[in-house]
């Protein structure tokens, strides 16, 4: 390859017209960078959330009237537990706590630490936690965002929650949840279930909703029907519905991103075609000279294909590498707020690196094919004309 005259001529052509090629590479890198960054963020969040969804219970039962959630009575737990095929029926206590009418809001989740399942999960999550110390007194675990808010508002050690009864409940800050989990836990406050009930205004015999598992997948429909028939104001949500909704959540094919991508692609092809047409006269003379020297149409097209493919590969590798670094090394400042909201500015959840090769291949093929077409069609038109006319 080093002594190949064709390769030498190709390299001369590429670096001889470096201004033109650098302009095209710059534009292509920008487009590929933006598109790849968006898709990297979407696929990372999609993968992480789908995996986390597997840890959720199979069914959630709520009490709804007029689309408003009402507390679920404790008797419903026993009614559901009596059904065959149902396991791990657990009442859940959660709700949003607003610090002021339109201020920061925390997601309060009450955990029954007497339940066997919660201990190992807690120990795994917060390494080195002294569970006995945590369970004595009113203590809470807070997410990174809550910890930052508390530090900024001079609540370094404890926070007094205002209950619906008008009383203050002071809870000590015990530990912060791992920063790596801030995708879910940024605004999370984990409390013992009794404290959570007081803060959210629930009685001892009430909970926000009830969850249960059905180990046999074939029984899901049957159990769902039986539970739905128990009460008129009961709503049941299954994990299958949630999984389907999550699959659509960050699906770039779903409308918005596809429309944007098509518009961007069309604009890119138009710009390239216009750019290729601008160098029409110089290109025409150069190709005419090559044809006059004895180059066949095939040789001319081969030269242009290799030249274009070099630019395509360079742009693609640069664009994707920059996008990867921007998303997974720098945690996508600015762009992540499109997906995670403006409140994620201070505490950026680290994004799990996900390389979806099907997406990368699609980007490459769409970009390469449109670029090749925009460049090769004018070149072919010139190559098939008479060399004497081409050199005029």
């Amino acid at each position: 390859m080093g002594n190949n005259p064709f390769f030498h001529f190709l390299a001369l052509n590429l670096f001889g017209e470096r201004r033109k090629h650098l302009g095209v590479i710059g534009l292509s890198v920008l487009l590929i960078f933006l598109l790849s960054s968006t898709l990297f963020i979407a696929s990372s969040l999609h993968t992480s959330l789908l995996r986390a969804l597997e840890k959720e219970p199979d069914f959630v039962v709520q009490r709804v009237r007029g689309d408003h959630l009402l507390p679920v009575p404790e008797e419903w737990v026993d009614e559901i537990a009596e059904l065959h095929g149902v396991s791990r029926v657990v009442p859940r206590v959660w709700g949003r706590y607003h610090t002021e009418p339109k201020g920061a809001s925390f997601l309060i989740v009450g955990i029954d630490f007497l339940e066997e399942q919660s201990h190992p999960e807690l120990a795994k999550l917060v390494e080195g936690i002294d569970l006995r110390k945590f369970l004595t007194g009113k203590k809470m675990l807070v997410g990174e965002g809550v910890a930052h808010w508390m530090d900024a508002h001079f609540y370094p050690k404890a926070f007094s929650f205002l209950t619906p009864e008008g009383e203050f409940l002071k809870v000590e800050r015990f530990a912060m949840l791992p920063a790596e989990s801030s995708l879910l836990s940024r605004d999370l406050v984990i409390l013992p279930i009794e404290s959570a009930r007081k803060i959210l205004g629930l009685k001892e015999t009430e909970s926000t909703d009830i969850t249960f598992n059905v180990p046999n997948d074939d029984e899901w429909g049957n159990i769902q029907d039986k539970v739905s028939a128990m009460h008129y104001d009961l709503r049941i949500i299954s994990k299958k519905e949630s999984r389907k909704a999550y699959a659509e959540l960050f699906n770039y094919k779903g409308g918005f991103f596809l429309v944007l991508y098509l518009i961007v692609l069309l604009a890119f092809v138009l710009i390239l075609y216009q750019r290729a047409s601008q160098v029409y006269s110089q290109e025409k003379r150069a190709i005419g000279i090559l044809r006059a020297l004895g180059w066949s149409i095939r040789d001319v097209l081969k030269l242009k294909i290799y030249e274009t493919l070099s630019v395509v590969f360079a742009s693609f590798v640069l664009g994707v590498s920059l996008a990867y670094g921007y998303v997974f090394v720098l945690d996508a400042p600015l762009l992540r707020q499109i997906f995670l909201g403006s409140g994620s500015g201070e505490c950026a959840p680290p994004l799990v690196p996900v390389l979806d090769f099907s997406i990368l291949t699609s980007i490459f093929l769409l970009y390469a094919v449109s670029f090749l077409a925009a460049v090769l069609i004018p070149v072919w038109r010139i190559a098939v004309t008479d060399p004497k006319e081409a050199m005029l």
Binding site: A52, P178, F339, P353, L355
Partner: protein, 88 residues
């Protein structure tokens, strides 16, 4: 010029290898385990979006309401991007 071509190709190859290297070296499972741990403990796998006070935090489990017009459908700021996400 050929040397410049080789250097450019080597630079791009190094860039690609750096990306692959970072991907292989990063503790992806450890990151995901933290997220899974929170979901397993709380039973809630909804992302902590920067939502406004009138938007649901747990999109499948709570309905947002506008205190001024409680019977109106909630304005879904993220709905246009993400599509519907109700477990109904």
């Amino acid at each position: 010029m050929v040397r410049a071509y080789y250097f450019s190709a080597l630079f791009l190859l190094a860039l690609a290898l750096a990306v692959v290297g970072h991907y292989l070296v990063t503790d992806r499972e450890g990151l995901q385990r933290s997220i899974d741990g929170v979901a397993a403990l709380t039973g809630l796998a909804s992302p902590a979006l920067g939502v406004a006070w009138y938007e649901p935090r747990l999109r499948r489990f709570e309905a947002a309401f506008n205190p001024a017009y409680p019977e109106l459908l909630p304005p879904e700021r993220q709905g246009f991007i993400y599509g519907e996400l109700y477990g109904k």
